[in-house]
């Protein structure tokens, strides 16, 4: 049979069995990942989980303890950073302070010995792409945080790398600018078509920008998938928690077949849920989860096919939404419910009895 692999699904990065130890400490424990050409891929995880370590190994800074990295089909083992088809946007931006913006952006081109006009044309083009065309002669210390970030971006892009590595490029910016740069980053990636690997510990950033996300904990990849996939079907409590609020309910496995599980959970009764990624049968206990925004408050005599009742024990106001903490008889922990404020969820008094509607499809089974 002929393989009909399109250009878009050609693997650009293949990581297999990658380990990295610092002395006795294992920073990366056997990572295997593939990233497709032209993909916007994010590494998401809490501080210290090894994101930077992984990114630096891709760039060629430091040597892996075991495993291999291939970029565009070529094994990178033992190849120094200056001869890899990658470029990096450093967290601190690392703008050369003794050079102006143009010299910074042209830094890597000098070595290529292009003719002067071609070099200038490429610098110009890169600066225009990040909308810094007017600041070419500015020195590094005369730039704002956002401008420095753009210089770092232009300096890497001008090299036309196969893979662009970004280590928390937006974390030093204030919220407003960060959101603006997120949009620009996404547009930029689509425009240049280069594979981007973004390291971030901001789940919203990862979800909003990426084609796919890898969630890392303790030097391991816990889950890889599209933003929607990992948000809706987290494989474990940890992943679910890291991607925003999640209510956890203990459940018991009643039946197990090919792809789905039939579960009994207090309050929700008998439900069916797809098996989580990497599911291994381990006894009868399992965790069921539902996102707070998938629970809906039922007003007056509204009825829903699936509903549970409880009592509001706490209320948090967040501006556009209100979070209600609802105690359900028979549940170990209360449920959190987020409701937009259009209907007056912010006025529901603490202590009142309440009914919640849910969609059984929103219930996810998790591995632990």
């Amino acid at each position: 049979m002929l393989d009909t692999v399109s250009a878009a699904s050609k693997p650009m990065i293949e990581i297999s069995g990658l380990r990295k130890s610092f002395g006795n400490f294992e920073a990366l424990k056997s990572i295997s990942l593939n990233v497709q050409e032209g993909e916007f891929f994010s590494l998401l995880g809490p501080s210290g989980c090894g994101k930077t370590t992984l990114l630096r190994l891709l760039a060629g800074f430091g040597e892996q303890t075991a495993g291999t990295i291939a970029i565009d089909g070529q094994d990178m083992t033992g190849r120094p950073a200056n001869r890899r088809p990658t470029n990096m946007v450093f967290q601190s931006y690392a703008i050369f302070p003794h050079m102006n913006v143009e010299e910074n952006v042209g830094y890597g081109l000098k070595r290529l010995k292009l003719d002067r006009q071609e070099e200038q044309r490429r610098v110009r083009e890169a600066l225009d792409r990040v909308e810094l065309g007017a600041l070419g002669k500015r020195r590094a210390n005369e730039l704002s945080g956002g401008q420095r970030q753009r210089v770092a971006l232009a300096r890497a892009l001008v090299m036309r790398p196969k893979v662009l590595l970004l280590d928390e490029p937006l974390s030093a910016l204030d919220k407003k600018l960060r959101e603006q740069m997120q949009v620009e980053l996404r547009h930029l990636q689509k425009a240049v078509g280069i594979t981007f690997i973004l390291v971030t510990h901001d789940q919203y950033e990862a979800l909003a920008l990426s084609d796919r996300v890898a969630i890392m904990f303790d030097g391991q990849v816990a889950q890889v998938g599209t933003p929607k996939d990992i948000y809706q079907n987290p494989v474990s409590r940890k992943v679910a928690d890291f991607l925003g609020g999640m209510n956890f309910v203990d459940a018991e496995i009643a039946e197990e077949n090919g792809v789905s599980l039939t579960l009994d959970a207090a309050g929700f009764g008998r439900v069916r849920a797809p098996k989580p990624q990497g599911y291994q049968s381990m006894g009868r206990q399992i965790t069921l989860g539902i996102r707070p925004e998938r629970l809906r408050v039922l007003w007056d005599d509204d009825q829903a096919e699936h509903q549970i009742g409880g009592q509001v024990i706490d209320r948090h106001y967040f501006g556009e939404v209100t979070q209600l903490i609802v105690e359900i008889p028979g549940f170990k922990a209360p449920l959190a419910v987020t409701e937009t404020n259009d209907f007056g969820a912010d006025d529901i008094p603490v202590g009142s009895a309440i009914r919640l509607a849910y969609d059984p499809d929103a219930l996810v089974a998790m591995n632990d």
Partner: protein
Amino acid sequence: MPFAGTRPPARRPRWKRLDPEEVRGIRLLSPTFLYTLAFLVGPVLLVVAYSFWTQTYLTFDHTFTLENYRVALTEPIYRDLLMRSLYISFIVSLVTVIFAYPIAYYISFHGGSRKSLLLFLITIPFWTGYLLRVMAWKVILGYKGVLNTGLIGLGIVDKPLESLLFSSTAVIITLIHAWAVFAILPIYVSLEKLDRSLLEAATDLGDGPVRRFLRVTLPLSMPGIIGALLIVMIPTVGDFVTPKLVGGTEGQMIANAIQIQFGKASNWPLGSALTITTMMIVTLMAGASVLVLRSLVRWMR
């Protein structure tokens, strides 16, 4: 209420217009300022004044004359001494910086947790007085000194080298040793301040270790290099102890001549003129060195 508008503040006398911050700044500065005035600016002005006068034995003729400068600039003996001083201090500062750089680099980049220890060890020679260290060099460089006996013992030469001690070379070697730490420290500081991620960025953009050194490390440590160069160059021009002890007649420097004018020869005006001339020329040499280094760096990247 009707619109009040803003009235421009009344102009106050200039000294009153200083804001409290400035007043505080001036007050803080004033002790240092007075100190500088009394012990630096004052004496220099005095020397400048002397250089335009004439002395006969103990009396000064205060009529303005440029005669002293004519002597200082045209008499072959002073010209030679000045040239030799400049040559010695230039070589000393250059070689000191060239030796100091790798040491500072090693401590900063490979010192790890032993940085403080290494810096501490470097200062050990300074626990003894300067004279003792010069004497030590006399022992090493002397006719029957350590170096000569060593060379003979190894069969490299068959009779002692005479030119080791009492020469410009001896002065140069002694001074290089004496000033090493003063050159290591500023370079070390500038290397410590160098953000290591800049080096990674240079590597990431395709530079190997040598190009990276020339394009990033060296230019960014240039303030340290310039500092080291000036710290060594300026005082060594005016050194008179070292040439006196190890220089012999062939290693005398301008400061020895100045000392004689203020001492035995009792010609303060000429001594002053020599001093001022030396200061000017050292300033020019230092400035020129800085410019050359700067343009070297610009050219390299």
